[in-house]
């Protein structure tokens, strides 16, 4: 079983390394960081930390963009090219296909994100910023865990939607989770009755992506998180990834494949 999952993941990874998207993202991030750096240089001293802040923000959201794209592209791509028929005719279960796709996309996104961090660090060091490495590594690890959750989310959406629709819905869902879910308690304070209960259900029932964001900690030099907290956050991410992959499998396991040119 693991051998088949790994075979699928390997092909996904190879595809990402051989296509141009990943390199376009890296060049775009480097270009943006250099543009921000040149603006910071023009603004004079004291702007280095803001520059690093902007770099981390760009790295964070570029990681998201690649993850949502990678997760949503795989299954619809197989169907559009007809390769899904060759795959599913093999002794490969749909669960193995989904886990293999997720694993391959996560490995590809991990490589991309590490390249993003490398670009950010080069720009930061050249601007004279020396970020705390312990906290930065933890921030990177939690970022990668959040990307695992996002890939599972977009993969689950792509079992029912086409690639573009899955990317669009996943972006909206991810931004809502990141920006709105942490503010639900404030909303709950301003309302009453059954709405408070409904908001509490949403607050505890949806994933909290903001928990994986350690950028403030890195910027303000608060030092690394205790190991237990890091492990709990990693377990939280793993549980959500598992739940979303399960949802993807439930949606995909009885999916009928119809391709006009194949149907008679």
């Amino acid at each position: 079983m693991m051998r088949r999952i790994w075979a699928v993941a390997e092909v996904v990874l190879r595809g990402w390394l051989r296509r141009k998207e990943a390199y376009v993202y890296i060049v775009l991030l480097a270009g943006l960081q250099l543009a921000v750096a040149s603006l910071g240089g023009a603004a004079g001293g004291g702007s280095s930390l803001y520059l690093f802040d902007a770099g981390l923000l760009l790295t964070w959201f570029f990681g998201w963009a690649v993850a949502l794209h990678a997760g949503a592209a795989e299954l619809p791509g197989e169907e559009a090219h007809g390769t899904v028929f060759l795959l599913l005719a093999k002794p490969l279960s749909r669960a193995e296909l989904i886990v293999g796709k997720w694993l391959g996309a996560w490995l590809a996104v991990t490589l991309c994100t590490l390249a993003f961090y490398a670009v950010t660090l080069i720009v930061a060091y050249s601007a004279g910023v020396a970020p705390p490495l312990g906290a930065l590594i933890q921030a990177g690890v939690l970022h990668l865990i959040s990307l695992a959750v996002l890939i599972a989310l977009s993969l689950a959406l792509s079992t029912r939607l086409n690639r573009d629709a899955a990317v669009a819905v996943a972006i909206v869902a991810a931004l809502a989770l990141y920006l709105i879910v942490p503010r639900i308690p404030q909303l709950a304070c301003e309302t009453h009755g059954w709405r408070v209960g409904a908001l509490n259900v949403l607050y505890y029932g949806l994933p909290h992506l903001e928990l994986f964001d350690l950028r403030r900690r890195v910027l303000h030099g608060f030092g690394p998180l205790p190991g237990g907290v890091l492990a709990t956050l990693a377990a939280y991410g793993a549980v959500w990834t598992g739940a979303l992959l399960m949802a993807a499998w439930l949606s995909y396991r009885r999916r009928r494949f119809q391709r006009d040119r194949l149907l008679e």
Binding site: W6, A89, F257, L262, E264
Partner: protein
């Protein structure tokens, strides 16, 4: 034990408010070692039956078996190789990488996998282009690499859906040669085709499907009346069945 069998297979679905009967109580058994032609006009239900056999769709009634195993279990697909109509492969891979991937999915590894990859590349005449990306292959070469991935684990049953569609005469001849080799090795080949002249050349048994039902079955040389070609017999059978269905309606 039959290489593949359909037991009262039914497939109905709704399309734009109307009920479509794709398969209507299809019952068929194909014995091992036979080259079996699965014929029928467009919309007869051939591809639907093949898709159910491969687990791409679930039948609404009845069951399908491969070497006695229910097709709904992935393990049933261990002994089959499949080539779909207008197949495509991962264009960013080389031919050799594509075959390695297919082999790994079928449980091959190490030296055995490498041996099979080399053997199958030779069989489909792609050894010279094995390390080129599939994106650079011609259509015929892509068809052959897809056929090679179906053969990689030396399956006992080969399912081909319109295998020669869009191929030039040379490509068709090559597919016929591979089917012939497969038969000599005692393997079962089940294929759907519109090319009746080809069917006559390679098949031991055929069945003609129309509107989800079998309307004729037997050896391709025995089915037509004296002086009639298989194509004429096919036209007569299919149009006769359509007229009968029209009268019933």
């Amino acid at each position: 034990m039959a290489a593949l069998s359909f037991d009262n297979l039914g497939m109905r679905f709704r399309s734009r408010g109307a009920e479509v009967v794709a398969l209507d109580g299809l019952t068929l058994a194909v014995e091992p070692g036979v080259v079996f032609g699965f014929l029928g006009p467009n919309g007869a239900g051939k591809t639907t039956a093949i898709h159910i056999l491969l687990g791409f769709q679930q039948a609404t009634s009845g069951a399908a078996y491969i070497f006695g195993r229910d097709v709904r279990t992935p393990i049933a697909r261990q002994r089959i190789g499949y080539l779909c109509e207008h197949p495509d492969a991962y264009r960013f891979l080389t031919g050799r990488e594509m075959l390695r991937f297919a082999g790994k999915l079928c449980g091959l590894a190490g030296g055995r996998l490498e041996d099979r990859v080399a053997q199958v590349l030779e069989e489909v005449d792609l050894s010279a282009a094995a390390d080129r990306r599939i994106a650079t292959y011609s259509r015929g070469m892509r068809q052959r690499v897809c056929l090679a991935q179906a053969l990689i684990h030396d399956p006992d049953l080969l399912i081909l859906d319109e295998p020669t569609g869009g191929l030039d005469p040379l490509g068709r001849q090559q597919i016929r040669r591979i089917i012939g080799d497969w038969r000599r090795r005692g393997k079962t080949v089940f294929f759907s085709s519109h090319e009746l002249s080809e069917v006559e050349l390679v098949c031991d048994q055929v069945c003609i499907l129309n509107r989800g039902r079998i309307v004729a079955q037997g050896a391709p040389q025995m089915l037509p009346a004296a002086g009639e070609s298989l194509e004429q017999f096919f036209m007569r059978t299919v149009s006769g069945a359509a007229e009968a269905a029209g009268r019933l309606a």
